[in-house]
């Protein structure tokens, strides 16, 4: 190397270093964020309101049948929530005698983990087990020290900084004594295993669910009848004397063709990213004078009616404008942000890889892969609850069992997360309403 070359490469190196340094201190763009906090226009049970009961206990208002537990001490997707992830912590194993029977009960307890959601253990009563984490059927044969196994359950990040396993002890989901029982149980798991009676017990050999048939068949998907019912709303005059059809001429089939392929979209008039659902909450009262709260039946069925007119057309959300790009980046950050008591990120379950969940079973549920596209069939009919759910309720539900307070259904955070998810659907044909478990 000549002196000149050396000088040049040193200069280049310095230049790269400077550029990196600048990028590191650069603040994330705020383009596309509403200038003032967004006032939710959702049903009361969809707003995530925190209430204090007379005895001083806090609770979060959620949908009927959902838990009301307040997870306020754990961080959320909210952009004004700057709390870091819970710090990695360690505890020396309490000096109590572990009871394997108690440990097995805890391992299966739906009120706790359940650990079987991700790990298989022997026993015909283990149903259904998942395979996101390693099969623990012969874990005792590894002869690992109790101390090590305790810390692994207490906070696995002590050994594996990027693990997807929740820090059960650190965030208090399991008490230290409970972990001692689980350790005692795991140490009893020795081979050889008796042959499997039912291939469906083991998630590695279980048949993958086949779905519920043609989602666009009205005799098969009750969501379609509900969506078509929104025609009466389309033609209904509000207090302002106008109906949807008065401005959007030609009926939904003509006026709304292809519209939904562009949503979620940055809407200049409201200075934020909006899905069709979000847009209706402000557009309907602003034009017809009729309310159309997020998560209301009117909102969901009108959204489906509008989206159905784009069925078969490829999704094409904008990812180019400065607002959309900044929103996409924030959505991606949310997707990878660890939140809640379980310290989980969306990516833990919905991307592929070792210890990640996509295309594996979480309990009996096959986890969807973000690459396949998760949005083009929403809102959809859920056969397990007999109701229509949109993407937002799905997000709110996803994080509730994982110990995070939900945000309002029409929150900007969810809208931008939905934009990020929809980017994987770009180019794929829409098919609304879907039908899923």
């Amino acid at each position: 190397m000549t002196r000149l070359e050396a000088l040049l490469s040193a200069g280049l190196f310095l230049g790269v270093g400077l550029a990196l340094g600048c990028a590191g201190t650069e603040r994330p763009s705020t383009a596309g964020l509403p200038p003032t906090p967004w006032a939710s226009r959702a049903l009361p049970e969809a707003q995530g309101e925190i209430k204090t009961s007379p005895d001083g206990r806090k609770m979060q208002v959620r949908y009927r049948g959902w838990t009301t537990e307040d997870f306020g001490q754990f961080r959320t997707y909210a952009y004004d929530d700057p709390r870091p992830a819970p710090a990695v912590s360690r505890l020396s194993m309490p000096q109590v005698k572990g009871d394997p029977r108690e440990g097995r009960k805890l391992f299966l307890s739906r009120a706790k983990g359940p650990c079987t959601g991700c790990h298989l253990i022997p026993g015909d009563d283990v149903w259904p087990a998942g395979n996101v984490g390693p099969d623990l059927s012969t874990f005792g044969d590894r002869n690992l020290p109790d101390d090590y196994v305790f810390t692994q359950v207490y906070d696995s990040r002590n050994f594996f900084p990027h693990t997807t396993m929740p820090p059960w002890g650190t965030t208090g989901a399991l008490k230290p004594e409970e972990i001692v029982h689980i350790v005692a149980y795991l140490q009893t798991l020795k081979g050889p295993l008796s042959p499997e009676k039912d291939p469906n017990r083991n998630p590695d050999t279980r048949a993958k669910p086949v779905g519920f048939g043609d989602n666009l068949d009205p005799t098969n998907n009750p969501g379609i009848v509900l969506a078509e019912g929104a025609m009466s709303l389309w033609n209904k005059r509000g207090p302002a004397g106008k109906a949807c059809g008065d401005c959007h001429a030609g009926g939904p089939a003509k006026a709304m063709k292809g519209v939904a392929t562009r949503y979620p979209n940055y809407v200049k008039a409201f200075q934020r990213v909006m899905s069709i659902e979000d847009f209706l909450t402000v557009h309907a009262p602003g034009t017809t004078g009729l309310p159309m709260l997020a998560e209301s039946d009117e909102n969901l069925s009108t959204t489906m009616l509008i989206k159905m007119q784009s069925n078969g057309m490829p999704v094409q959300v904008d990812l180019v404008s400065p607002e959309a790009r900044a929103a996409f980046e924030r959505g991606r950050a949310s997707f990878w942000k660890r939140v809640g008591q379980r310290d989980h990120a969306c990516a833990d379950c919905h991307t592929k890889g070792a210890g990640r969940g996509a295309d594996k079973f979480l309990g009996g549920r096959l986890l969807a892969d973000v690459d396949a596209g998760l949005t083009k069939h929403f809102p959809l009919w859920r056969t397990s609850v007999g109701a229509v759910w949109d993407m937002r309720k799905r997000m709110q539900w996803c994080m509730t069992p994982l110990g995070m307070n939900m945000l309002p259904a029409d929150a900007v955070e969810y809208a931008e997360l939905e934009l990020f998810l929809t980017s994987f659907d770009n180019g794929k044909p829409m098919s609304v309403p879907g039908i899923r478990h």
Partner: protein, 110 residues
């Protein structure tokens, strides 16, 4: 709710001669259910629900079904038959208030 009395019929997209055809049908109807008074006794009145289904093929009746009570909102009926010739399938639903709702589907052999 979509328009009352709309009859939706689904048949397989391709039918060969000699096939047994599974027909799926749905009718939009509120199907009033029995009300009870405070004592728990059923209120006596003429409830509005679909109580008869008649299926004809090329004008010939091939199925008749009576339902003695309100089965479900927007009830769904499915049945199978073997058409010997191409033709028109007509499904008629009658309700207790004299309502008559019809839907047709054309069956062609491919």
């Amino acid at each position: 709710m979509a328009e009352i009395g709309q009859v939706r019929i689904r048949i397989p997209s391709s039918i060969k001669r000699g096939d047994v055809v599974r027909v799926r049908s749905l009718v939009i109807h509120p199907m009033e259910i029995v009300q009870r008074d405070k004592a728990g006794k059923p209120v006596d009145k003429n409830y509005r629900f679909i109580n008869r289904m008649i299926v004809t093929y090329n004008g010939r009746e091939i199925l008749q079904a009576d339902t003695t009570q309100s089965i479900s909102e927007n009830p769904f009926f499915s049945f199978a038959f073997k058409p010997s010739e191409a033709g028109t399938l007509k499904i008629t639903f009658l309700d207790t208030h004299g309502g008559k709702y019809e839907g047709t589907a054309d069956i062609k052999f491919s």
